[in-house]
């Protein structure tokens, strides 16, 4: 059937085939060139940032002690804000991820993930505004209330769980049942506190690290959640099924299979959350009070590297000492975030490779 060259020739002559192959090769090369050029430009941009910072700093060999002093203060502020935010974002983000990846009813999961991604898309300036304008004055007189609620709400929920937990059906929907309870509980707590304003803990300023932590933590929560959820969801189904088939309860399957397998992914989620908090500018700028105070007290204001850069850059002369101190701070921030990001990437990549190897061993 292939022995009839006449029919072949009439469809695709050898000359035509050869010419078409050559032209395809040419077009392919051209496009590859465009793609490669694009990549090269992106890489140049990436390299340009640290090179610019280093290049601007190099002419000065020594830094006076005042610069270092200022730098220490800014670094302490950045770390304090980030630590407070991580305390909010990491436990909440990872708990939500554990629920969504393992306990959640699939129909609810299809709804929770996009909802939290919308939270990620809320401009941080909006969160900063809410924190600075509404939350700050309230928090000034209610630090004790917040602390009491942080202890009381989980305690009440745990007690309720022990009392009625065995009767609960449909645990995959539980957070929706808890939501009104939680809101009601918080409202009651706030109402009680409003009648008796507590003077037990009064912050020095309404804009302080605790406020930053709440707002910044909320902003970093979706990132931590989505990376942690991916890590947990990536664990091969056959592993969880094997655990279930051996008689594991849902919680046992989580702690004995999912958490060990996805552990490094959860660490990566925490690191990227921290990195995000270190670099975030707008919330810190609006909610921190921008007061240059070093130290580790969460109830006083702070000034962070990022906020200092945003505020200071327009009003410093490019030759002044203040300018140099800004550049130094920028470089430190860059190094810190790149370092954290690289560690997180390394950890995640190792996790992906291990899970992949296990799934197909």
């Amino acid at each position: 059937m292939l022995g009839n060259p006449a029919t072949c020739e009439s469809l695709l002559s050898p000359d035509f085939v050869r010419a078409a192959a050559r032209s395809r090769l040419r077009r392919g090369r051209l496009r590859a060139l465009l793609v490669n050029t694009g990549t090269a430009i992106a890489l140049t941009g990436l390299l340009a940032i640290p090179l610019f910072l280093l290049g601007s700093l190099l002419p000065w060999t020594g830094f006076p002690a005042t610069i270092w002093h200022r730098f220490d203060m800014l670094l302490a502020g950045t770390l304090r804000a980030a630590a407070c935010a991580v305390l909010v974002a990491v436990p909440l983000g990872i708990a939500t991820a554990m629920f969504t990846a393992h306990f959640c009813a699939p129909r609810l999961r299809a709804w929770i993930k996009p909802a939290l991604e919308i939270l990620e898309a809320v401009p941080t300036v909006v969160l900063g505004l809410i924190a600075a304008a509404t939350l700050a004055p309230w928090l000034k007189t209610h630090v004790a209330t917040v602390l009491a609620l942080i202890v009381a709400v989980p305690a009440v929920l745990l007690a309720a769980g022990f009392a009625f937990g065995s009767r609960v059906r449909g645990e995959g929907w539980l957070p929706l049942w808890l939501l009104p309870l939680l809101i009601a509980g918080a409202a009651v707590g706030v109402a009680i506190a409003a009648h008796r304003p507590s003077a037990a803990i009064v912050p020095a300023s309404p804009w302080n690290a605790m406020l930053v932590g709440l707002a910044l933590g909320l902003a970093a929560l979706p990132l931590v959640f989505s990376i942690a959820e991916d890590a947990l969801f990536l664990v091969p189904r056959v592993q969880t099924q094997a655990a279930f088939a051996l008689g594991a309860t849902r919680w046992q399957a989580l702690t004995s299979v999912l958490l060990p397998a996805a552990g490094s992914g959860l660490v990566a989620a925490a690191l990227l959350g921290l990195s995000r908090c270190l670099g975030e500018t707008m919330i810190v700028l609006m909610a921190s009070g921008n007061t240059p105070i070093a130290g580790f007290d969460p109830l006083v204001g702070l000034r962070s590297i990022s906020a200092d850069l945003a505020l200071g850059m327009p009003e410093t002369a490019p030759t002044s000492e203040a300018y140099r101190s800004l550049l130094l701070a920028a470089l430190a921030l860059l190094v810190l975030t790149v370092l954290l990001g690289s560690i997180a990437d390394f950890v995640r990549e190792r996790l992906r490779r291990r899970l992949h190897a296990d799934g197909h061993a």
């Binding site: 009813a105 699939p106 129909r107 091969p236 056959v238 592993q239 099924q241 094997a242 655990a243 279930f244 088939a245 051996l246 008689g247 594991a248 309860t249 046992q252 004995s256 299979v257 060990p260 397998a261 291990r354 190897a357 296990d358 061993a361």
Partner: protein, 272 residues
Amino acid sequence: MLSSIPEFPSSSIAPAGSAENADTALRTEDLSLWYGARQALDRVDLAIPARRITALIGPSGCGKSSLLRCLNRLNDEIAECRVDGRVLIGDTDAYAKDTLVHDLRRRIGMVFQRPNPFPLSIHDNVAYGLRLLGIRHRRELDERIEAALKSATLWDEVAARLDDSAFSLSLGQQQRLVIARALAVEPEILMLDEPASALDPVSTLRFEELLHELAQRYTLLLVTHNMQQAARVSDFTAFMHQGCLIEFGDTDALFTNPRERRTEDFITGRYG
């Protein structure tokens, strides 16, 4: 445990043939299953004899695996899955409100199509189910692990390297490890979902010998694509088609003299 099974005055199809008075380890009554709007099982009545090998055969998508996953309620994990009818494991109603699902699953071991050991050592794989039960004592763990590995005819090959990763074993060894893992928690029934489909012919032969040995002590329920395997290994065979149980009987009788036209078409290779 098995000896105390009451006689069920039920309409379930017991296998036709020699086992009318054998103990029943597992029984389904009017079992139907839906995934959303799609019906996967249609009123299946089945009585699995104790300490025998029962093979489930049928074309792809006929509901064999779905049936297994109904029996240990692994289908609970799937969204929009609905079950109707009864499943009795011994004298426990699997879908009763007060049934503890995880304990039910412990009583029914399951072996999957591809070996799926945990990314742990050989020792810890077999210890997994025991630790779930709260057994922590080192000596007791070791004894039970050794017994389970011996039952799965793997002990001689791994005794010297229990701390090696389970993935250092060959696929055939991994599948026997997975059986040892299931046996360690002392199930009554062992369900195997096409357990030999990932194995080479020599490992498969070895595996089938193991099934014969296990049938002395356990009730085995074997889903297989391979009709020769069903004929070689099983005492009874159930043929399923499009979610229905078509025929269930003594393996030799079913393969040599099927009562149903569809069974005959399938085993003679006319479809499937």
